[in-house]
């Protein structure tokens, strides 16, 4: 199989929020940068974010980054790294104001400032009462943000390679990353993007679950590529189930609905969140709300003929508020639930939504891995930001609106780190590593030559059902154990997938098979990491780690206050410590989580 080599200073893989934010940094610094994306940039999944981006601007009431930091650490169930969290919360105002300067059409307060709404888990004065911290453009914040950042890149003349599928990292024997191999989907041509700095901004892998709010493209390509190149994946047992996916369709309904006053009700019409979170109620953290909903359904208080969903009610809100602040939700409810949300409640269920774990990085956006006795040694030439990365600011559970903040702050910081590196690095590119390119070509040859193989569609379905049934909102020791065996069986099928379509031109069957190669890495990492973590924390709650006086909420800080690292080779697990020391302020001390 033939390939060509093209040289760039930097290559960014992914053109969603994090990739576009990093690209602004590199393009405006005048560096020769290639941005590779498997979809046109504005089709990336950041576009589907709805409710807002967190920043303690204090436009409607008093707020402070330190309160935001506290909420984020509490939300993470103390698994988040406090240095990275302080960095993110302090940077929030700066990156949100930048977006406004790029032209983002935020909603406005009467004073003309950026409009802010309350959101789950965001409180004032260290957990006292909900605060307006989510900066929003109606319920289309992600769309407005992604378009504004694409537009800024048009202005900066960023060079995009649109509809190119990245295949693998090129990493040499010393562990240095030298770029990526990628396929032009339109022609099937293979190109090695030879670069001195490589930034991954490839998004999450929400499609490992059968029912997901995520787009078809969210297949964890960056995680698959990193895992195959020997880089560990961090904390993948932690997956967020968003409380409000449309029942049956999975489409997201923003938490902003509850921020604007929406209420969850069970079959008896009861506002059940009052029992689970007496203070924050419907605005408790997402893991707490999703578990409460699942408990209501499991105990027979679900709605509908099969009692398998609960209701999100906004019928008490003024129609003007709904049409002004939540127009997209009104549209989604009509389209995907067949209800007019002005008059009827929306049927919702917890739905897989966000990957808290990912490629381990520090708060500079540098990818880090253990080396000898050091836990966090930077991988030369390699950066990651956004959902594919684990900084770790979300720990065991992410707060709503912190994902858009994460991709802005760490997209920018990865971009800045790459610019710094490029200023110092020698003019010439390091020699390419043939062995790692050959491995990729062999993988493509295997797929094209496979006969009597497994169907991509069926294998992916089995993968998704296995994850859904064995690794969901509530986890069970025996189901996890069984799940590990099942997902390893699926892995065998993934290694022998067959496509009937052999065309070179826009072969989407081939792309789906290659995406499945990435999905399986994330699925295996998730199941194995989840089976091994014998405690309940954040979004990971298991039956054999119940709430006890010794371990409130089932959390076991003595044995499990540590990050998981999964290595593809031999499915090996390792652990590293949580950074409990922030940059300038005192550590937020461990506490039992209650809302």
């Amino acid at each position: 199989m033939k390939y060509t080599v093209r040289k760039f200073d930097a290559v960014i893989v992914g053109a969603g929020g994090a990739g576009l934010r990093a690209a602004i940094q590199l393009s405006e610094a005048g560096l020769k940068t290639a941005v590779i994306s498997k979809v046109f940039p504005t089709r990336s999944h950041t576009v589907a974010a709805q409710g807002g981006v967190a920043a303690s601007l204090g436009n409607s009431e008093e707020d402070h980054w330190h309160w935001h930091m506290y909420d984020t650490i509490k939300g993470s169930d103390w698994l988040g790294d406090q240095d990275a969290i302080e960095f993110m919360c302090r940077k929030a105002n700066e990156v949100v104001v930048e977006l406004e300067h790029y032209g983002m059409p935020f909603d406005r307060t009467d004073a003309g400032k950026i409009y802010q709404r309350p959101f789950g888990g965001h409180m004032s004065n260290f957990g006292e009462k909900p605060v307006r911290r989510s900066c929003a453009a109606a319920d289309r914040t992600g769309h407005a943000m992604l378009h504004a950042m694409y537009q800024r890149n048009v202005k900066a003349n960023t060079q995009f390679f649109v509809e190119w599928q990245a295949l693998d990292l090129v990493r040499d024997a010393e562990g240095e990353v030298l770029g990526v191999t990628a396929m032009d989907m339109e022609t099937g041509e293979i190109v090695v993007f030879h670069a001195k700095a490589t930034i991954f901004a490839t998004g999450g892998a929400g499609r490992i679950f059968y029912s997901s709010t995520n787009a078809f493209i969210n297949t964890g390509d960056g995680l698959g590529m990193a895992a195959r190149a020997g880089i560990p994946l961090e904390d993948l047992e932690f997956w967020q189930f968003h409380p409000t996916g449309v029942a049956g369709a999975g489409v997201l309904i923003t938490e902003g609905v509850r921020g604007e006053g929406g209420i969850l009700r069970n079959s008896q019409g009861e506002r059940f969140m009052e029992r689970y979170a007496p203070n924050a109620k419907d605005l408790a953290s997402r893991d707490v709300v999703s578990r409460a909903m699942t408990t209501e359904i499991n105990e027979g208080r679900g709605c509908g003929p099969h009692k398998d969903f609960v209701l999100l009610d906004i019928t008490h809100l003024p129609p003007e508020t709904i049409m002004k602040r939540l127009p997209g939700i009104h549209e989604i409810a009509l389209q995907f639930a067949g209800v007019d949300a002005l008059k009827e409640p929306i049927p919702v269920v917890p739905t897989a939504h966000y990957q808290m774990g990912g490629i381990p990085t520090n708060y500079h956006g540098q990818v880090v891995a253990p080396q000898g006795s050091s836990q966090n040694v930077a991988v030369p030439g390699f950066y990651a930001a956004g959902e594919c990365a684990c900084a770790s600011v979300h720990g065991a559970n992410r707060l709503g609106t912190n994902s858009l903040l994460d991709l802005l702050v760490f997209g920018k910081s990865a971009g800045e780190s790459a610019v710094d590196q490029l200023k110092k690095s020698p003019k010439a590119h390091k020699e390419l590593h043939q062995e790692s390119i050959d491995k990729t070509l062999a993988r493509l040859d295997r797929l094209d030559g496979q006969k009597d193989g497994a169907s991509v569609h069926e294998t992916r379905l089995t993968l998704q059902r296995t994850m859904q049934n064995h690794c969901g909102v509530f986890r069970f020791a025996d189901k996890l154990k069984e799940g590990v065996q099942k997902i390893l069986d699926v892995q065998k099928d993934v290694q022998r997938t067959e496509i009937k379509d052999k065309s070179k031109v826009f072969n989407t069957a081939r792309i789906e098979a290659l995406e499945l190669d990435n999905l399986i890495e994330v699925a295996v990492a998730t199941m194995i990491s989840a089976e091994a973590r014998k405690e309940s924390r954040g979004a990971h709650v298991r039956d054999d780690a119940p709430d006890t006086p010794a371990n409130p909420n089932g959390r076991d800080d003595k044995n499990w206050l540590k990050h998981t690292l999964w290595f593809k080779e031999g499915n090996r697990l390792d652990y590293k410590s949580v950074k409990l020391t922030p940059l300038t302020v005192e550590s937020i001390a461990l506490k039992t989580r209650a809302y």
Partner: protein, 238 residues
């Protein structure tokens, strides 16, 4: 679960093997969970993996899966399967007027070239302030119905003027974006933007046929935006 069989006629063309395009007859069994056309197309692809189409978010916000459905442009993910007559096959074709790369996938280069030509970014040469630029809620309201565009190209590829002059006429999507920046109180380039569009082709090929309004899956109104640009030109001429 009750299933029913749905018939399709799908435009097929793979330049790697087909001398010319043809219509493929294919059918698939669907059940109650297959609510949208895109759900059914995913089933079709499981049956014949060579059918090529774009798709991503499946909720009408990414703009990937625009195609021509029974003669009208729309998004597969927002088209209820029950809204299509089933007494005859559902006919799926690529968006009209753009070169076909393969099957239902068109080459959108020309469409994006026109979008880029209107300088789709905020132009404000004042040094950026410490905090956000202020904008009243009323001024912000002016952007509603403009900024929500998802660049799916349903509008431009249903516009006869765009079919005729895709290289010279900006088209409804590009003009909607142009007005989005003209209408933004933070933008300082209104007069340059109007100069750029004051051209017999770039703006004035719009003959208010209004196909764009008819097909927009987001309910936007490019014709109205174009009318406002024309009004501004008239006003500044007097």
């Amino acid at each position: 679960m009750t299933t029913r069989n749905i018939q399709f006629k799908i435009y097929r063309y793979d330049p790697d093997k087909d001398a010319k395009p043809y219509m493929q007859d294919i059918s698939v069994d669907i059940d109650a969970t297959d609510r949208k056309l895109l759900d059914v197309m995913v089933k079709l692809k499981a049956k014949d993996d060579s059918i090529a189409f774009r798709r991503s978010c499946r909720e009408g916000v990414c703009g990937s899966d625009a195609l021509n459905i029974n003669g009208k442009n729309g998004l597969a993910c927002l088209t209820a399967i029950d809204s299509l007559p089933i007494d005859k096959p559902i006919v799926l074709r690529p968006l009209p007027g753009l070169p076909v790369i393969r099957d239902l996938i068109v080459d959108m280069t020309q469409f994006f070239k026109q979008y880029h030509s209107i300088k789709p970014y905020l132009i404000n040469n004042d040094p950026p302030p410490e905090r956000e630029r202020l904008q009243s809620p009323e001024d912000r309201e002016e952007l509603n119905g403009l900024y929500e565009c998802i660049l799916c190209a349903c509008c431009s590829t249903s516009c006869p003027s765009f079919w005729w002059n895709p290289d010279k006429f900006v088209g409804p999507a590009g003009l909607l974006a142009a007005y989005r920046f003209i209408a933004d109180t933070r933008d300082q380039a209104t007069s340059e933007r109007l100069d750029d569009l004051d051209d017999p082709y770039r703006l004035f090929r719009c003959h208010t046929i209004m196909n764009c309004v008819d097909v927009c899956p987001k309910g936007l109104n490019p014709t109205k935006a174009i009318g406002k640009i024309k009004d501004m030109m008239v006003k500044r001429a007097i």
